[in-house]
């Protein structure tokens, strides 16, 4: 067998919850807790094993695409899973644990971590599995599939604003993290044992929940959105004023009390700060909105949020700001938190 292309992952495509997505890489990790217990047993040999529950995690790195491929890219997968955790009725395994959107001039990708219960399921079932690998060619990537062929999203496809930091942004990253809890339940007394496995019937009489097996229940108890970015900094030399003279970082564009700081993307002048400081009895957000948007050239030729439209993250707080002066670019790294509405 001198030729065997099955060795190469490029011939494969992945499915998550029954839908195909294009990915750079994907990992599915399943583990089961096993430990040896030693008792007063007359031998040091492991005669008793303690076998616990299973865990399944799936991590996928997928590009953000423009064109027909945008229907099967990492953003589509992440946004689908974010929408599911916001609406329990549509949730399916695997559930989102975190989604990290990374945007830079070189390209953009989404790193997604999903969690499932490790249940291999019924071999006779044709229902979608949480994670599958197939040999199916992704139709959406055919150049003639839709209105446009596919390309990776680049710097001209994104616009970013984190408060007043909106110019010369080199990279931006936003993380949507869900708090998931795993729980294992004992076999309930009142199970319906007319099938395999036993199940608990839901209150409405329709839904069923398997219980008493090694596979955990997964619950979603929170969602938070954080991010970070890196921007180049311009320090302009604005002439000083009669009262204050010409001091770097202390001059204002258009007057002594109003106008623009000498620095862009950085607060270095007196009374200015990079962080979103709070005041007693008041929750202070950045004076300008948070935006991480992608240009939608397919439908309405407008900017749209990189995250699902149902999430309003316009209010943010900048929590760290690290200014770096070197012989290269002047840069500032910053972290931020968003209120999620």
């Amino acid at each position: 067998m001198p030729l065997n292309n099955n060795l190469f992952g490029v011939y494969k495509s992945i499915k998550v919850s029954g839908r195909t997505y294009v990915a750079e890489s994907a990992n599915r990790n399943v583990s089961m807790e096993v430990d040896a217990k030693n008792y007063i047993q007359g031998s040091p040999k492991a005669r008793v094993l303690n076998i616990g529950g299973t865990k399944e995690s799936i991590s996928i790195t997928s590009p953000i695409l423009v064109g027909a491929g945008s229907a099967v890219d990492g953003r589509e997968l992440a946004n689908t899973k974010i929408a599911e955790i916001l609406d329990p009725n549509s949730a399916s395994l695997p559930v989102l644990e975190s989604a990290v959107y990374k945007v830079s001039p070189e390209g953009a990708s989404v790193s997604i971590t999903l969690k499932s219960d490790g249940d291999p399921g019924d071999p006779a079932s044709t229902a979608p599995r949480p994670f599958e690998v197939t040999g199916r060619e992704i139709e959406e990537l055919k150049p003639g599939f839709g209105a446009q062929p596919s390309r990776v999203a680049r710097f001209y496809d994104f616009r970013v604003q984190i408060g007043f930091r909106k110019f010369f942004i080199l990279e931006a990253e936003i993380t949507v993290a869900a708090t998931t809890t795993e729980a294992y339940f004992l076999v309930p007394y009142n199970t319906i044992n007319d099938g395999n496995p036993a199940y608990i019937q839901g209150p409405s009489g329709s839904g069923t929940i398997t219980a008493g097996y090694q596979f955990p229940f997964l619950g979603i108890s929170g969602i938070k959105i954080t991010g970070k970015g890196k921007a180049a900094v311009i320090l302009r030399d604005i002439p000083g004023t009669a009262n204050y003279g010409d001091y770097y970082f202390f001059d204002y564009y258009g007057g002594e009390t109003v106008g623009t700081d000498e620095s862009i993307n950085l607060g270095l002048s007196r009374g200015q700060s990079d962080l979103t400081f709070q005041r007693p009895g008041e929750a202070v957000a950045e004076a300008q909105s948070f935006r991480l948007e992608i240009f939608d050239g397919l439908t309405d030729n407008a900017w749209e949020s990189l995250l699902p439209n149902t999430i309003d993250t316009s209010k943010s707080v900048v929590s760290t700001s690290n200014f770096s002066v070197s012989t290269g670019l002047l840069t500032v790294d910053f972290d931020f938190y968003c209120w999620v509405q």
């Binding site: 292309n5 190469f8 490029v10 011939y11 494969k12 495509s13 992945i14 294009v22 990915a23 750079e24 890489s25 994907a26 590009p63 695409l65 423009v66 491929g69 945007v103 830079s104 001039p105 070189e106 390209g107 197939t134 199916r136 060619e137 992704i138 990537l141 055919k142 150049p143 062929p149 596919s150 390309r151 990776v152 680049r154 710097f155 001209y156 496809d157 994104f158 616009r159 970013v160 604003q161 984190i162 909106k166 110019f167 010369f168 942004i169 080199l170 990279e171 931006a172 180049a232 300008q288 909105s289 935006r291 240009f295 050239g297 030729n301 407008a302 900017w303 012989t327 290269g328 670019l329």
Partner: protein, 313 residues
């Protein structure tokens, strides 16, 4: 304006029948102009996608790159071409861009990924060209020649005008070895047989994400800006060793403060007040003994911020 060149069914010519270029609006007769719009356009192939075919394009930032070479010309009044002065002034102080107009090069201003193929090509002024390297070479066998490499972009979509010769500077001549002189404080340098003066401007072409309040129509896939990170002035000359030459000519390296190493090229004087010499090289051959001397200029940190630090015209 009608499209130039072959789009109007050809005006194929060669040599001097082809019109030259304009630098900052001034006509410059060039030997060669090879400045083109370049862009990283490739396919990304390695995805989990169900086959080895390259299906996903990757279209990066575009900019201009290339080089020109030309002989230094003076008119009948011994006045330099204004374009040459503009290039030299910019090369020693690259703090604002040069413009280039040419008849032969069509440009694409819109986003390539959304307006591909042959659409919307225009004759535009390349209005932000920065000199990356410039070399002035002089020897007895050729005219004094300048070679310059550029990076740049189009900042503003401005329709170019045809580059036609400036009637006031048509007549002239190229400077030659006979127009050159070299000297330094310790030597009259009468044995120099050729020299090469170079400027190296280290450029960084950066691309940023679009600004947070930018309208979609104003997006651009060009590089966002160019920065000049470092400026280095250097050179080398060759000396023919012969009897009767001065004693203090074998340079063993190191700086020479206030040495005022100077080269005169017609109306241009290039001076290095404090050269930092490398050790001179002298190969033994069956022909003439020729010693090669190289140096870098030690200059004030702020010297490239203003013109006149290197060239006097």
């Amino acid at each position: 304006m009608a499209f130039p060149g072959s789009l109007t069914r050809a005006e194929i010519a060669s040599g001097l029948l082809v019109r030259s270029v304009k630098i900052n609006g001034n006509y410059l007769l060039v030997e060669n102009c090879n400045i083109n719009q370049v862009q990283d356009i490739d396919m990304n192939s390695l995805y989990l996608q169900g086959g080895p075919g390259s299906a996903i394009a990757n279209i990066g930032a575009k900019k201009y790159e290339g080089d020109i070479s030309f002989f230094i010309r003076v008119d009948r009044d011994n006045v330099l071409d204004p374009a040459v002065i503009a290039i030299l002034r910019h090369a020693e102080s690259p703090m604002s861009g040069l413009t280039l107009d040419t008849n032969h090069l069509l440009s694409h201003f819109d986003i390539t990924a959304e307006d591909g193929g042959t659409d919307s090509n225009e004759l535009l002024t390349i209005d932000e060209l920065i000199i990356k390297t410039l070399t002035i070479s002089a020897n007895e066998n050729d005219y004094v020649k300048i070679s310059a490499s550029f990076q740049g972009m189009i900042d503003t979509r401005a329709t170019s005008d045809y580059a036609v010769p400036d009637e006031n500077h048509v007549l002239g001549r190229s400077l030659s070895w006979g127009d050159c002189n070299a000297s330094r404080y310790e030597s009259a340098m009468r044995t120099v047989s050729n020299f090469e003066l170079t400027i190296n401007n280290e450029l960084e072409a950066l691309s940023f994400l679009m600004a947070g309040d930018l309208a979609g129509i104003n997006r651009s896939d060009q590089i966002s800006l160019i920065g000049v990170k470092s400026v280095k002035w250097a050179g080398e000359y060759s000396e023919i060793l012969r009897k009767g030459m001065e004693l203090e000519t074998s340079i063993h390296g190191g700086w020479m403060v206030d040495e005022n190493l100077a080269f005169t090229i017609g109306p241009i004087t290039v001076s290095y007040r404090t050269p930092l010499f490398q050790k001179s090289e002298l190969p033994l051959s069956s022909k003439m003994l020729i010693r090669k001397v190289k140096w870098n200029a030690m200059i004030n940190p702020s010297a490239p911020l203003k013109q006149g630090g290197l060239f006097s015209i």
